[in-house]
């Protein structure tokens, strides 16, 4: 009986793996295909689609847009997120729960509705098809991830460390930069990575707001799939997979380092 359950369990895990991970992994060999259309398994291997990507100004522009929008979004969302988390975790005021719910609401609101609403408002403000419009829209989406990550870090932060710093002669500003900030940095960095990925992978709002000039990679891919089934998309997809996996690994590394620093055994 036990034996059957164990095999059932393994089979189930395998099924999950195949359905979730396999469709993503299949992209990678396809990007090295020599065929001029999407096919699996590839008839032969080459780097022609990588060459194509690197020589196509349209794709490179989209990549440049994606990266610069994501970088500025990350800076904005992380700064706002740190300040908001400090206030939400440390503060003691009426309506704190409601404010928290309000700040994290973009995480649960249906994206298409947010996108339509933003398009409507931004067009009144002439911010559609602008760099700042894209950045602000993505900041709204990314900030909740930063707030959630950093709040968790702050909640486990031992306030007596700040009292200790004060008793040793450090004023509040010095205490923040010498004690609080270094200790919560792993949390801030993972929040920032979340913000970057949120902006970098976002497609719905970008479809509405980016326009031609600030078209991002996901928008370009989306259009590519709809209008011209071109293996270059698999190249971009491979880049995105590698990037996301790298970020995930970095976050895990930071989490472990943070724990090791606090003396928690992982």
């Amino acid at each position: 009986m036990n034996f059957i359950w164990r095999w059932f369990f393994r089979l189930f895990c395998l099924a999950v793996f195949i359905y979730l991970i396999f469709p993503i992994l299949v992209i990678i060999p396809m990007s090295f295909s020599s065929a001029s259309f999407l096919t699996f398994p590839p008839p032969g291997y080459s780097l022609r689609w990588y060459e194509q990507f690197l020589n196509d100004q349209d794709w490179l522009d989209a990549a440049k847009n994606s990266i610069s929008i994501a970088v500025v979004t990350t800076i904005l969302a992380t700064t706002l997120g740190v300040l908001a988390s400090m206030g939400l975790v440390r503060g003691n005021f009426r309506g704190k729960a409601i404010l928290t719910a309000f700040i994290v609401s973009p995480m649960v609101a249906p994206l298409i509705i947010a996108a339509a609403g933003m398009y409507f408002i931004y067009s009144k403000l002439s911010m559609v098809e602008t760099f700042m419009g894209m950045v602000l829209a993505h900041t709204v989406l990314a900030t909740p991830f930063v707030v959630v990550t950093i709040s968790a870090t702050l909640q486990s932060f031992d306030r007596s460390l700040e009292n200790a710093a004060a008793s040793l002669g450090a004023n509040p500003v010095t205490t923040f930069f010498k004690v609080t900030l270094p200790i919560i940095t792993p949390g801030i960095v993972s929040g920032a990575l979340f913000a970057f990925v949120t902006s970098f992978d976002e497609v719905v709002i970008a479809l509405f707001i980016s326009g031609i000039e600030y078209r991002t990679l996901p928008v370009k891919m989306f259009e590519g799939i709809r209008f011209e089934i071109n293996p270059t998309i698999t190249v971009v997809a491979t880049f995105l997979i590698v990037l996301s996996t790298g970020f995930l690994a970095l976050m895990e590394y930071l989490r472990r380092r943070g724990e090791a620093m606090r003396g928690v055994k992982s």
């Binding site: 460390l161 009292n163 002669g169 450090a170 004023n171």
Partner: protein, 367 residues
């Protein structure tokens, strides 16, 4: 301790300090306290008695609702903690986890604008003194609890603070290590001549280390004195039962004259005692007697009180024996006797006579 005659050598003075967090529940009620330079003062009390609140206000992590706190005669009520120049040791050590222990100890020196090289050198020397020289490049998490506590003490002392505050610093250590650290802290106090205010709920720790102990309960100091007086002459039932072990017997005062009184217990026995907290005949009282002051089968006329009792339980502890006896209606009466041949022959169920001197039996407020 009343603030009626200001002492010129007082380092710290609490003047009628009251503290409430919510406006209803009062944590500290009109506290007057003077702390002299070089003193080792312990604030002792159960949790919620106000002792930690008192320390935190002195450290600057809380302001009195009313009253004032003076340092060298000047109010420090509005001085932020980082300008007070007090060393502080916390219960959980509060070492900075991202710094090496050398950087931890150098931190207060760097805050005082000492050059980095000089600060690191001085930190190394001070870690030398607590035998941690081989660990200076380690992070706090790589040290044991006792080593971390030594770092915390070194960090609190390295900048020659005017006053050192310790908030249950040994609470997280095991018994043996705690006793070693008690001696270390006591020796540091003696060698450096610094003023230490120490908070604990452990009465034996308070008695071991302190020059004076302030016993807190319900937001007021019940008694403040040196350990010997606190143990031998508690002024009320709370102090008597909080410091050391005590037997309690309830009764009513039937005679009172000068330094003697007679108390009739609930079972009718009359006991001679000294009146501490009773005013007149007819007052209800609780008599208090230490287990080690009770004599077994005293000679006639050897002591004022002699009472029949029955042995209920014997506990062998090597150097001494403890007996739980029934005395009147009290079945929890404990006595403590040194181990010898006569004592070794006593068995559970034996009828015995116990006695004690009137001056060891204190008539206190009724519990």
């Amino acid at each position: 301790m009343n603030y009626s005659s200001p002492d010129r050598s007082a380092l710290v003075q609490f003047q009628n300090v009251t503290k409430t967090y919510d406006g209803e529940h009062i944590v500290i009620k009109g506290l007057d306290l003077e702390i002299s330079k070089g003193e080792f003062l312990t604030l002792l009390g159960p949790s919620g008695s106000g002792k930690s609140t008192c320390l935190m206000m002195l450290a600057g992590f809380g302001t009195p609702t009313s009253g004032d706190i003076l340092l060298n005669g000047k109010s420090i009520k509005n001085i932020p903690p980082y300008k007070r120049n007090f060393g502080m040791v916390f219960q959980n050590y509060a070492l900075f986890p991202h710094m090496t222990i050398q950087e931890n100890v150098a931190f207060p020196l760097l805050m005082r604008k000492m050059s980095k090289a000089k600060a690191m050198k001085k930190a190394e020397e001070s870690l030398d003194m607590v035998q941690l020289q081989q660990f200076i490049k380690r992070k706090p998490a790589q040290l044991s609890g006792g080593q971390q506590q030594r770092v915390a003490v070194a960090r609190a002392l390295v900048f020659d603070p005017e006053l050192v505050l310790m908030d249950e610093p040994l609470g997280a250590l095991d018994k043996q290590l705690r006793e070693t650290m008690q001696m270390e802290i006591k020796h540091i106090h003696e060698n450096l001549g610094i003023t230490i205010i120490y908070v604990t709920h452990d009465q034996s720790e308070a008695l071991t280390m302190s020059d004076r102990v302030a016993v807190f309960s319900d937001g007021i100091i019940q008694q403040i004195d040196n350990p010997e007086v606190l143990y031998e002459a508690p002024i009320n039932s709370f102090v008597a039962s909080f410091i050391g072990e005590n037997n309690h017997m309830n009764g009513v005062v039937i005679a009172l004259e000068g330094k003697h009184c007679q108390v009739k217990l609930e079972d009718g026995t009359n006991i001679d005692a000294i009146p501490i907290n009773v005013q007149s005949i007819g007052d209800p009282t609780t008599l208090s007697i230490r287990p080690e002051r009770v004599l077994l089968n005293p000679e006639p006329n050897q002591c004022a009180n002699a009472v029949k009792a029955k042995v209920l339980e014997q506990i062998y502890l090597g150097d001494h024996n403890r007996f739980r006896i029934r005395l009147g209606q009290n079945e929890e009466f404990m006595i403590k006797l040194p181990n010898n041949d006569a004592i070794a022959r006593i068995r559970e169920g034996d009828d015995i006579t116990v006695g004690w001197q009137a001056e060891h039996c204190r008539a206190l407020d009724r519990i």
